[in-house]
């Protein structure tokens, strides 16, 4: 028993001998703290598929960009807005003359509630799609929705009106316009 105790003492004292003096007398302040460490919409025949716009003579860049835009559009329809945005950005990087991608970038930003950035993309889309009545109507409609979300009722009214002028069957624009008109007629309280 005594021998075992002696051996234990010997071992422990050996361990003690390994301890650096500063650690013996000043319990380490260094180490104490260490380690405490939306429902899919239906498209008219005009915008059925962007991939359908790819013809035999379409330049490869354009074709790739349109395909990516189409992929992005499907992602938008399935509610994957951020993924859609990334696809659209890739489409834009490949071919910036793809005018549709600006519209869909605007749409992705709209769904991500970045309304001002959406309007910026739609401004570009507006100039690039000026000769395509259907798409221009879509641009105006989406602009109207953005302005409405931003509480800018006058520009929203103008945009919806322009959208309906280009496509009188645009239901979204018609509904948007009637709402905006209703709101605009509300007398302001002074």
């Amino acid at each position: 028993m005594g021998m075992r105790f002696g051996l234990l003492l010997l071992l422990l004292s050996l361990a003690g001998g390994c301890a650096p003096l500063e650690q013996v007398w000043w319990p380490s302040s260094r180490t104490r703290g260490e380690g405490t460490v939306t429902a899919p919409r239906e498209y008219s025949s005009e915008d059925a598929s962007l991939a359908a716009k790819i013809k035999a003579n379409t330049p490869p860049r354009r074709a790739a960009s349109l395909r990516l835009t189409e992929e992005g559009r499907k992602l938008l329809d399935s509610g994957h807005y951020q993924k859609a945005l990334t696809r659209m950005e890739q489409a834009l990087a490949i071919d910036s003359s793809n005018q549709y991608v600006y519209y869909f970038l605007g749409k992705a930003h709209f769904h991500l509630t970045k309304y001002r950035q959406s309007v910026e993309f739609l401004d570009v889309a507006e100039s690039l799609l000026s000769s395509q009545a259907f798409w221009l109507g879509e641009v105006y409609n989406l602009k109207g929705k953005n302005y409405q979300e931003l509480g800018l009722l006058e520009p929203a009214h103008r945009s919806y009106t322009a959208a309906l002028r280009l496509n009188p069957k645009n239901r979204e624009a018609a509904i948007g316009l009637s709402r905006v008109q209703r709101e605009l007629k509300v007398p302001t309280v002074r």
Binding site: L9, S13, L14, C18, T31, G35, R61, Q117, D123, V124
Partner: protein, 794 residues
């Protein structure tokens, strides 16, 4: 008889013995007290490590992804080089697992089994694809697993570098469940076969090592257990002293007492050092499997597992990157141990022996974009502290294109060397003022910064001249004056400007706030009445100043702000000639607005930041703002194309850059700064050349900066399809006589095509070179662009 002598002796001995025993007991008790205290202390240290942050994870910075699509320009060697840089290895047959590829030049295809990759928007599961390549073009891509055609293929981004503290430890954590049991057995077989039997130290292994060392007369073997090795790696140095060994043994015992075998093993598998790739240490099983075999641990073969286990003893000695023979010998020893221990069957053992270890070439990853990385660090500093960046293993995805980056760096270095050779006065021997330069490359449509070189040699000077140096832009500022003129007309609203409006180029004085400003032309050469186009193409100072005077300097300044200049600009007439200090990046941003048809973008370097768990901390998207109409932007681009084709930048054409491009040279007073900013519709680069101490270059932008830009653009655009600026609706391209500014006739000796806003072009024919009467009479019914102009006249 009283034995007084022995009595005295025993009496004298007894207290001495007592005192000695007492002192010994006190000494041992003191030692024991110290020992207990020290063990408690070690327990605290071990616990803190096990339960706190064990490792620092450097943040990794990635270049942009690489998108391949059918029809794009792509050489077999390009893709081969790219895949090798990404750590893919060539296989003999069709790639069977992630990270393999093969090239068939004869049949013109590359087959790749893509790596899995954790993108910001979710994990990507690798699959095998074949890219058929014909005439340097990706003809077709299809999925080898399903046979389906693939229309765009995203290759994972290349690692540029990392943000790390002092040592870059490359490590990815695994749980024990993610490591194949056979790999664990292989490690135990060769490193610590009695791991599950001992309690931190293995006396048997110590004795065996002792005997070997005594027999050999030197320290040949250690009897360290895995736990001891882990303690050594966590806390201690590799000094071979008794004191260190005792401490290691004590800590190992404490760790075994506090933690389970599995916890210790998992930490070991993540901690262990397994090799070196350049500046980066390879730590842990996952990283080693990637480094040596481009595989995840679960994909390893028995031979590969044995090789990894064998590497632990001396990773750099047995590395297959260094010696296939040595690596094979070591692997076979491990396989034999595994077989002896009964961990593998004879069949598996023999299969493992038959596996051929292929010689692999190590792709050294140097930081190819140090200025870019410094720029990123500054960009990230707002949201992430240095501690976070160096320890929390963030993954930072950027817009850098390593290919363009290398080309930009080469063009700048070679260009500056060449300038010093051709103009020896630029080589200032013995002075601390070396000829310097900077180049930045931007994709105009997205604002992505694709390359950035902030100086000639990062090792000598880390001063980033793209973003840190503010220099006068000189004539490179002039496009803002002309743009303001095209957009606003004269200040008094009496005059609208077109590219063919006339302006006088002669000495003049601009009076303002009781002061005078007298601009002068380069070499005092004046040309009289010139068109706006001529004034811009020839970079005429007085003509430009007169235009600014008519438009109003405030409108000029506002235009520069609108396009993207952010530095403060005082409303002084000399602003028209660029007497303001701006950065290279600001000029690039403003020029990219022109290249992007009037749409301004924000410079984009950081695209996404993810944490170690794959959560997106930050996402920066492309931001745009339409600031001028595409029609005016087109008119401007059309004029700036003239600078390239006929003006101060025509040297680019002599040097062989023939693509449609627009640009402007810039030279400041006393030729202290030489600039060139130019772009194709898809790529923009701005180059600056000068001395940090603003010594005179004695060279213009066309002489000093343009050659660098030209060499870069030639290499950067080689092989890509030629594109031109496309006129937007509302633009008329009309053939005119550049001298008169009127519609060209067949008699005009020189004819150019000019861009006008619809209805704003000239309506009358050139009075200087009248057309034959018959044609003139027929003219009202003819389209002006249908004059039968002879090719010679064009």
């Amino acid at each position: 008889m009283f034995d007084w002598k022995s009595k005295l002796k025993s009496l004298s001995r007894l207290p001495f013995l007592k005192i000695t025993l007492l002192l010994l007991t006190l000494f041992l008790a003191g030692g024991a007290f110290l020992g207990i205290w020290y063990i408690k202390y070690l327990e605290g240290v071990v616990t803190a490590k096990f339960e706190g942050q064990k490792w620092k994870f450097p943040s990794k910075i990635y270049a942009d992804t690489y998108l391949i699509y059918p029809g794009m320009t792509l050489g077999i060697d390009d893709i081969g080089t790219k895949l090798t840089r990404l750590g893919y290895r060539q296989s003999q047959g069709q790639p069977r697992s992630g990270g393999e590829f093969r090239i068939s030049r004869k049949d013109g295809f590359v087959e790749v089994y893509l790596h899995d990759f954790q993108y910001a928007l979710g994990p990507f599961k690798g699959y095998p694809v074949r890219i058929t390549i014909g005439s340097n073009t990706a003809a077709k891509i299809h999925n080898l697993a399903t046979g389906a055609e693939v229309f765009s293929l995203e290759i994972e981004p290349e690692l540029i570098t990392g943000f790390y503290d002092s040592v870059w430890e490359e490590r990815r954590l695994v749980t024990l469940a993610q490591v194949p049991p056979l790999l664990v057995r292989a490690i135990l077989a060769i490193e610590d076969e009695r791991f599950y039997q001992h309690w931190g130290i293995d006396p048997l292994a110590v004795m065996r090592a002792f005997l070997v060392n005594v027999t050999r007369g030197e320290i040949m073997q250690g009897g360290s257990t895995l736990t001891q090795q882990l303690m050594k790696n966590f806390f201690l140095d590799s000094e071979r002293t008794i004191k260190r060994k005792v401490k290691e043994a004590l800590m190992a015992t404490v760790a075994e007492w506090k933690y389970s075998k599995d916890e210790i093993l998992q930490n070991y598998l993540n901690e262990i050092y397994l090799g070196q790739k350049g500046t980066r240490g390879v730590f842990g099983i996952w990283e080693a499997a990637q480094f040596y075999f481009s595989k995840e641990p679960r994909q390893l073969t028995v031979g590969e597992m044995a090789l990894l286990a064998g590497l632990i003893r001396a990773p750099n000695r047995y590395s297959p990157y260094k010696t296939v023979k040595g690596a094979t010998r070591r692997r076979n020893i491990v396989l034999a141990r595994m077989f002896e221990e009964g961990f593998i069957t004879r069949a598996k053992y023999e299969r493992g022996l038959r596996e051929i270890i292929r010689s692999r070439e190590f792709v050294r990853h140097a930081n190819d974009a140090p200025f870019y990385v410094d720029y990123l660090r500054n960009e990230l500093a707002e949201n992430y502290s240095s501690e976070v960046l160096t320890a929390e293993g963030l993954r930072i995805f950027t817009s850098l294109d390593l290919n363009l980056q290398r080309k930009a760096e080469t063009a700048l270095q070679e260009g500056l060397d060449d300038l010093e050779k051709r103009f020896p006065h630029l080589r200032k021997i013995g002075e601390d003022d070396r000829l310097e330069g900077a180049i930045v490359v931007i994709k105009p449509q997205t604002g992505e910064i694709k390359a950035m070189v902030g100086g000639r040699d990062y090792q000598k000077s880390q001063f980033n001249r793209v973003v840190q140096a503010k220099r006068q832009p000189g004539s490179i500022f002039k496009p803002f004056v002309y743009l303001a003129a095209l957009v606003h007309g004269s200040e008094d609203k009496t005059e609208e400007f077109t590219p063919l409006s006339f302006v006088e180029d002669s000495p003049f004085t601009w009076n303002y706030e009781d002061k005078e400003w007298k601009p002068e032309n380069y070499q005092d050469a004046y040309y009289g009445i010139v068109t706006l186009r001529q004034a811009l193409v020839m970079s005429l100072n007085t003509a430009t100043a007169r235009i600014a005077n008519r438009v109003g300097i405030r409108k000029v300044r506002d235009m520069a702000y609108r396009l993207g200049i952010e530095s403060k600009m005082l409303l002084l007439p000399s602003l028209a000639l660029g007497s303001v200090e701006v950065t290279v990046l600001e000029i690039s941003r403003a020029f990219s607005t022109l290249a992007n048809n009037g749409v301004r973008t924000n410079p984009l370097a950081v695209k996404q930041v993810m944490d170690q768990q794959g959560r997106v901390l930050e996402r920066r998207n492309i931001r745009v703002k339409k600031v001028i109409t595409p029609q005016v932007a087109y008119m401007m681009n059309h004029m700036l194309k003239g600078v390239m084709d006929r003006g101060t930048a025509r040297g680019a054409r002599w040097r062989g850059f023939t693509r449609p491009a627009a640009g402007k040279t810039g030279t400041t007073n006393d030729t202290r700064d030489a600039w060139f900013g130019g772009y194709t519709p898809d790529l923009l680069a701005v180059v600056w050349v000068g001395f940090d101490k603003e010594s005179s270059l004695g060279l213009s932008g066309g002489q000093a900066a343009l050659p660098i830009w030209t060499e870069f653009m030639k290499r950067a655009t080689a092989g890509s399809p030629v594109t031109d600026f496309r006129p937007p609706p509302g633009i008329e391209l009309i053939e005119v006589d550049p001298l008169s500014g009127y519609l060209a006739t067949p008699n005009c000796p020189k004819v150019i095509q000019e861009a006008f806003l619809e209805g704003k072009g000239p309506k009358e024919f050139c009075p200087l070179h009248p057309a034959p009467i018959a044609l003139r009479e027929a003219a009202p019914t003819l389209n002006h662009s249908s004059w039968p102009i002879s090719p010679a006249a064009r």
